[in-house]
């Protein structure tokens, strides 16, 4: 167990083995996307957002989806969440086909999307309450997760009294409080300033290293993707397909200094070149109006 991170929540709800235990056989959080295609609209207006997209994500893995804007990375994420039904192909989590949203897949959105009428504690306790826990237990779980994101002092505050970064930390705590095997994150730090973003990224990695949740993280920030991920999946636009699946073998635990590492720079250039080509291509296509 990570000695820097006092683990309180796992005593209540979580079984949290060490990250370096090797492959997670039998642990939940296995995502399989098979030949997924998603089209929006119908007839002549129809638009293929994602085509023939296949991806396997293993329990406990941290995978970043990256690509030019409009490449369908959020669409893929939304189909794992169950918000969007596949036009073709399948999405399954732990061998169960996804056809609707559920508490087994936590989600953090670009906007914190906290319930403004609930306190910070009430927001985090929502999931455990819906899962059928008693009020006392739900609030204890919530308290523990607030501690993990360092906001226990703000438990009684209402979301609007918190800064954007703090709200997003509450949103992360809320999504994790259900102990979902899968955590989906849709550009969660996109709206934050650079300083806050670094802090959030480090904080998230610490949480993940303790909780071993499978994370699918959508971003357009290459630094962010490489810093966080075990694998960076680079997508092409129009329609969204996998361009390259890059394994990030940088050592963990990672600190922000790793951004200065030479290996980091090489990986970054790889991604950058791929995305630049794609963006140029997309730009040309838009000019031609196709």
């Amino acid at each position: 167990m990570n000695p820097e991170m006092p683990m309180t929540a796992n005593q209540v709800t979580l079984n949290s083995p060490n990250r370096n235990d090797g492959p997670m056989v039998g642990q939940p959080g296995y995502i399989a996307i098979e030949q997924l295609s998603i089209a929006f609209g119908s007839g002549k207006q129809s638009f293929l957002a994602v085509e023939n997209f296949s991806l396997e994500i293993y329990p406990g893995e941290f995978v970043c989806l990256i690509g030019p804007s409009g490449c369908g990375k959020s669409t893929v994420l939304n189909s794992i969440a169950g918000f969007i039904a596949p036009t073709q192909g399948t999405v399954s989590v732990d061998n169960r086909l996804i056809d609707c949203p559920g508490g087994d897949r936590g989600m953090v959105f670009q906007q914190p999307s906290l319930f403004p009428w609930k306190t910070v504690l009430g927001n985090v306790a929502h999931g455990p309450l819906m899962a059928g826990n008693s009020k006392a237990i739900a609030y204890r779980i919530a308290q523990n997760f607030l501690e993990m994101v360092g906001l226990v002092k703000f438990a009684k505050h209402y979301p609007m009294m918190l800064s954007g970064g703090m709200q997003q930390r509450v949103a992360i705590a809320r999504a994790l409080a259900n102990s979902p095997p899968v955590l989906l994150m849709d550009e969660p730090f996109g709206a934050l300033d650079a300083q806050t973003r670094f802090m959030m990224q480090e904080n998230l990695l610490k949480l993940w290293e303790d909780l071993k949740t499978t994370v699918v993280f959508v971003t357009h920030d290459i630094d962010e993707a490489i810093f966080l991920a075990d694998r960076v999946v680079v997508m092409s636009a129009n329609p969204g397909q996998i361009l390259k699946d890059i394994s990030i073998s940088l050592p963990r635990p990672r600190a922000i200094e790793i951004l200065l590492d030479q290996n980091f720079a090489i990986l970054k250039k790889d991604c950058f070149d791929l995305i630049r080509q794609e963006s140029l291509l997309a730009f040309e296509q838009q000019k031609k109006g196709t």
Binding site: F83, G103, F109, Y158
Partner: protein, 255 residues
Amino acid sequence: MGISKHQQQLLNRWALILSMPLFFGGWEIISRSGVVNPVLFPPPTLVALALYKWATQGPLLIDIAMSLSRVLVGFISGAIAGILVGILTGRYQFIANLLTPVFQLLRPIPPIAIVPIVILWFGLSELGKWFLVFWGVFFTVWIAAHLGVQRVDKTLIRAAQCLGTPEQKMLPEVLLPGSFPYILVGLRTSVSISFYTLVAAELAGTFSGIAYRIDIAQQNLQVGQSLGGLIILGLISAIADKAFGAFSKKMVWWS
């Protein structure tokens, strides 16, 4: 000569303080000057006397209680029904398709227009009065709740789904609080609607109530009491509106 900011503020304060006295003073002077017929336009002092007699020797308290009870019963039942049906039609397309065309047909009918039918159906009973106020309140609250639910942030609903909120809990946990700011606007409008529906209901036939007394006093040429009744009615609905405003602020503490 310019006025300093301080002097301006002082003037503004006095304008507020003098507003009522000037109005009643002007009224008193005009009534007593002989420009108008003092029988038809009695001065406020005589109106106050009529109110005093109504309160001490007449049934003022009973009239107020009867009128308030009609407003309360009609408002509360109309509000509850409006909120529930509005959330259902706002959330479920099937229910919306089933009910909305009918409601849109009935909604524009002024409550006063259905008074004759209400008398046929309910006679002069209290039920008829409640029904009229209910009718006025229901559609306003319904449309507010209906639109409110549709304006609830979609991401909040998605967030709730990802936290494992079952559909039947979605209503109390997300849809109701999420649409509450909109519902409250509808409720506040309904407060004044319920008062003017009350007037229509009482004028149509009853045996007590503020508006009923205004009507009876007019027939007896007790204009003082009629005007006094208007003032009472104005006071009550102003207080109700203010109280509701304060209540609203408490109910949507987050915005």
